[in-house]
Amino acid sequence: MAASDSPSAAPILDVVGVTKRFGTFTAVDAVNFGVRDGEFFTLVGPSGSGKTTLLRMLVGMEKPTSGEIRLRGKVINDLPPNQRPTCMVFQSLALFPHLSVGKNVEFPLEIRGQSSGERRTRAWELLKLLHLDPHRYYDKNIAQCSGGERQRVALARALAYDPEILFFDEPLSALDARLRKLLQKELKDIQRGTKKTFCYVTHSLEEAMVMSDRVAILRAGGIEQIGRPDEIYASPKNAFVAEFMGEVNLLPVTGGGDSTGAWDTGRKTLALALPAPLAAGVQKKLLIRPESLRFLRPGEVAGNRVPVRILNEFSLGSRIQYHVEVAPGHTLTVERLREERTTATEAELGWELADSQLLDA
């Protein structure tokens, strides 16, 4: 993340040691991070990681038990949501069902006491920006809008508030995959176009990777890693982050003092060459992506080789995924191109040292 630091990207939001406890349960544990002006920042975590609680504190619906939330250097811990210059798009979107599309968008302007003419002009602009023809949509009932249209109305309403930071509580999660992809792209475009700071929360790392400038990965109330999506993909900090990114192989290895390690599969112990030295007796996880594994032809050279039994194969379109067994109960996932398809039941599996990484468990 050091690479992306530049003086112009000053933090707009600073989260310093923020903690939230519910009774004895700590939902968010001393979290630190900063969101930079004009960036698309995403908090990712599985359910139970505390991301929703964190978000609710950032928008003012919960108060931190301790720590500070600073907006442009000013502590806003005690500021109620209606006095914060930030705004959120809710998971349920929270569109007001008794108001028309136009009136929903105008709501924050009406609260601010703008005249109906001004409000209407602004709502008209925003609907256009979000590809909703105002002639058709301004008077439309919320109930008559499709899922995608509602997303746009919710975004228009939030933009009408003209917030310094726009928060999102996984609003796209209820949509089908195709629409979600489309709206992800639109969201990114709007963020670039408006130059607003977006702070997005989701459980899908894939979604985060597509849209974000930077991503923070949460686990059990704490942040595991922050960085650009490609940084995180290239060098996950630990096994949790690696596993969260998708299907990966993580082999538990015990160090042998030099660049070798042992993988105890119960039945037999395999000696493996490691990409880095590991002190004797220390346990780590060896990360190998499924596409880095290959079936060796007789005589082929590889950094590591392991005999396996092929259990079954699944078609992923252009690629084929294999589940292979090293020892009973210890399986690996292999992904190869369709051209390299094998029908054997026994094979030798190999990978290069450079394609593997040692991670903390």
Partner: protein, 297 residues
Amino acid sequence: MKTSAPVPAPSADASGSSLFGALAALPFGALMLFGFVAPLLCVVWFGFMPPKTFALLQAPTLANYVTIFQQTYFKSILWSLGLAGLTVVCLLVICYPLAFALAKIFRGGASFVTYAIATSLFVSENIRLFGWVIGFMKNGVVGGTLATLFDAQVDSLLYNIPVIVLGMVYVYLPFMLFPLALGIKMVPDQVREAAFDLGASRWQVFRKVDLPLSLPGVLIGSLLVFVLSAGAIAEAKILGGQKVVTIAADIESEFTYAQNWPLGSALSTLFIGLTTVVVFVALARFDLEKLLGKKRD
């Protein structure tokens, strides 16, 4: 809530909900304090005043309670509780199939039946009971019809105990039907289907699935009907003549004809105590909020 995480419900502190909740409950609380709690305390206190007096500030005495146990008031209490129990049983038998049909079988027809029955709630109980009088009296609609059709001479069918029960069953039917239908609606269809699929018979599904899962509805309905019919006064008077004196009628006559307010108060206190015990024992066993459908906190 929005998160599927095992996070407790968000606390109320940030939105100041706590203060507003108490504030919003205030008018209701004041109303109940003035119009419910205070009058009841008044009744309880009055029960300890010397008989046949109208002033509240005298030395307390147990004389009224002594009178109650010496005389035959326990009879009217037993009558009231007995009739109420009988009404509950009759209504359970009558309403369960109908409630089941409303919740699980009828589609458009369900709202028709619901409206048809709910509408009757708004017609004064007296008027509806009086309809039975016209139906059952000598030369009434029933008697007259039988006489014309079969030439049978029917005397008045009124003024007996079955008619009183009929009146109570009739008046309190909606109070049983709607909670029951709500309760049965909460039984998931798939659970019933799964039970059938696993080889249970119709009766077994009823016993093992429907009944236990709709129990909150059964309980609420029974409780409502029991309390309301135990305090009933009009049915026994309009349909029953003076055949049976219920406790509510006893209380009323102490206040009106006998002008013995302290005795009436003591009777009321006793009666309130009895019904409160029943209600609290039953209510302590389950959460009403579950019946309303949303499980939060």
